[in-house]
Amino acid sequence: MGTTINRSRRLLTVTLVAVSAGIVGCRETIPTSLDDAQLPGEPLTLEIELDWNQFGSGLEVFGGYGKPQELGAGIIAESYAGTLSARTLVRFAEYPTKASVVDATGTTREDDDLTYIGGRVMAWFDSDASTNTGPVDLVLGAVQQEWDGGTVNWSSAVDSVGVDIPWVEVGGGPVSVVDTATWDPAEGDTISFLVDSAQIAAWGDSSDKTRGARIELVTPGERLFMHAAFLHVTTRSSINPDTVLILTTPADQATFIYDHVSQPPANGVRVGGTPSWRTVLDLTMPDELTGPPELCAAAGCPFAISPQDVSFAGLSLRSRVTEDAAFQPSDSMRLDVRAVLSRDALPKSPLGESLIQNPFGTVIPGDFFGLQDGQLVEVPITSFVRDLLSEPEVSGRDRPNTLALISKAEPSSFAFASFHGPGSSMEPMLKLILTVSRPMELP
């Protein structure tokens, strides 16, 4: 009897558990309405633009972010736009001291007694970012004076705190000429300079602080962008003297110096360059909107904007011809925008994360700053505007209302981007895409 009851209880338990699990575990598919009549009314999505004086203030341009060495490239120019000369300095790393060589018996052995008998400096250019379309002449020289890659500039070989050692001759000179070469973009992106054994030996002394190569442009009126330079050292093996090896030595330090420093614009927006420029501006969102009529019809006016109403916010900038032609972009520019976390700490304020979802930032064709003056560039700042419209933080701190327009990396280009500033006919504007609806109601 007891066994029967226990068996029945077990059966009941299993039934309950199975039924419950079965119902809950069933795949759920919610019915989908066949027409729109059961759905709430359509929200209205519309675009509005706010003039600068409706949202912007406090526009300032700051410079000096980053160093030429951090660009990771070389700039070479001669009287470009009549004002700019630039030279690239390279200090090569220590030479390789070992190589694998096949001896007379056919066995591969490591040779650590190499003889350096000459070499070539290879320079790799970016033809898109360089201004020349025809051949240009370049000179490779050996620097004769101690210099510091992190602080060197046109007039000083070393310019660190408390130490200023000027060049004997401004522009990184004098140098002893090593070789000359011609770069014709139609024939390729790379040129080579021949280096004799004596210069190879000199550059092989890693304790020599004057060690370095200077590449300068002879042809006037051009500006070249050099990706990299490296040294091919030609060596003879001690194991098999008939074997000549070419070993590659990368640049240990590479930087550039130039003789024209641009001044910040009196009225305008500037971003990029080396060192980089930043433009900061304050945003104040209007408490309420009184138009346009379709907004008032859909949601009533005055309309108080709430964060969720903002589907998109973008800073609308108009490109302008670079005011200093020497720094006019010849390649695309990459723009970023971040919140300034402490306005009072400018120009050294920390910045927030990028507001642009595209990892490459807002990419702008270089032509926008030349022939195509006045082109519209939209920088998305949706999350920033939504935050600005949100309630204050729990801590009571105000949310940042200052934006910094910067280049995607600082520095990322020698040239900088210029835009029309407040007060001009093409001043910055704030584009808003708003989506509004009547209150959600029950049927």
């Binding site: 039934t15 759920e28 598919t29 359509e42 999505t45 675009e47 998109f312 973008g314 949706t382």
Partner: protein, 390 residues
């Protein structure tokens, strides 16, 4: 005993689980009425009133007075539905589960006290529509997505007892409960090409309240015939908007619902049951700002039970039924008619000294709802477990 409690606890916990809607007609008016029935009533095509034996169903308050032992009942109900529109070859489907009835009864003061958690309205549905938005004079494609998650249930406290040797009277008093959330989102895709356009969303959340009272009488006219009737009155269904909801509070008139039922024992192993219901939902139409239409509804159901059938040597009553009823809310226009053929059986899980202490009732229904230009075919299963004297 512990096993029973564990099972019941699990079952109650499952009730809190998220479940989807069961019909496209959930989107009509304030939802689709979902009756709180067990497997036996479903199999017999009944509205849950006037059934033979003892039962614990909210439609039959008087029947609770017949319960001699402490009793619990739990019902689960999966549904698979397909619906289509006239002239369209597209067939859509939905499926989901419900726990329409959980009840407990305990003999006290010469009668039986009850507590029941029951379903009342199912409101889950979704919808989407493509839209073209004008962005500075440039048309851009976007899409609106709508979803409504909600249901109305009732919690009822009742008491029933014999007022005559063959007649019992019952009364249930309770409240509506539940919530409904409505969310509308607009997805812009990559309208600007920058990936920086944020989706728009607006939502509202309401909680339901309201009082409901039902009274019923169940009488055995003879040893062969039982009749029962009940009436359910409601103060109205209130929907209270939460603080963050921009929409307003609402109130919906819920009509008086009348039910009658009877069962007749035609022979020792053959019982026929019948029931009918009526409610005038048209009064709620003035409360619907969406312009949805509501109608008076009537329905009837008939069924047959072979009570002495046996399966695997044990008594396992077999049941068949048919019911036809109208739904109160329409999609577009016309009357929505629901017709169901049903069948099922009962399995005795525990019988001690000739007293059935635990049974499970299984029902399978094949039905169709049609109204306006929409037709929905569905399969619905019901599994209920009834425990006594635990």
């Amino acid at each position: 005993m512990r096993s029973y409690l564990a099972s019941l606890t699990l079952a109650l916990a499952c009730c809190a689980a998220s479940v989807s809607g069961q019909s496209i007609f959930n989107s009509a008016g304030v939802g689709l009425p979902v009756e709180a029935l067990d497997g036996r009533a479903r199999a017999l095509g009944s509205f849950g009133i006037g059934l033979p034996g003892a039962s614990l169903l909210p439609a039959d308050p008087g029947g609770a007075g017949r319960l001699l032992f402490p009793t619990g009942v739990f019902s689960a109900q999966p549904t698979w539905a397909e619906y289509t529109e006239d002239g369209s070859s597209e067939i859509r489907d939905s499926q989901g589960g419900r726990f329409p009835l959980i009840g407990m009864a305990y003999p006290v003061f010469g009668g039986t006290a009850t507590i029941q958690l029951t379903s009342f309205l199912d409101q889950n549905f979704s919808g989407e529509r493509p839209v073209t938005v004008d962005l500075g004079g440039v048309p851009a494609e976007a899409a609106d997505y709508f979803r409504q998650d909600g249901s109305v249930s009732t919690i009822l406290f009742g008491y029933g007892r014999y007022i005559l040797p063959n007649t019992s009277l019952g009364l249930n008093i309770g409240r509506y409960a539940g919530t409904v959330e409505r969310r509308l989102a607009r997805d812009f895709g990559d309208t600007t090409g920058s990936g920086d356009v944020a989706d728009y969303e607006t939502r509202g959340l309401w909680s339901y309240s309201g009082e409901v009272i039902s009274a019923g009488l169940s009488s055995d006219l003879s040893s062969l015939i039982r009749v029962a009737a009940s009436a359910t009155w409601s103060s109205g269904l209130g929907a209270q908007a939460t603080e963050q909801t921009t929409g307003v509070n609402r109130s919906f008139s819920i009509p008086l619902q009348l039910m009658v039922g009877a069962s007749v024992r035609l022979s020792p192993g053959l019982i026929v049951v019948a029931s009918a219901t009526s409610a005038d939902w048209s009064q709620i139409e003035k409360d619907l700002v969406s312009g949805a239409k509501a109608r008076a509804t009537r329905g009837f159901g008939v069924g047959l039970e072979l009570s002495q059938a046996r399966v695997l040597g044990k008594e396992a009553p077999l049941r068949v039924g048919y019911r036809s009823t109208q739904l109160p809310f329409t999609l577009r226009s016309g009357v929505v008619q629901e017709r169901i053929f049903s069948g099922g059986l009962a399995l005795t899980l525990n019988e001690t000294d000739g007293v059935v202490l635990a049974t499970t009732d299984l029902a399978v229904e094949r039905g169709q709802r049609s109204g306006g230009s929409i037709t929905e075919d569905f399969w619905r299963g019901t599994v209920s477990v009834r425990l006594a004297s635990f």
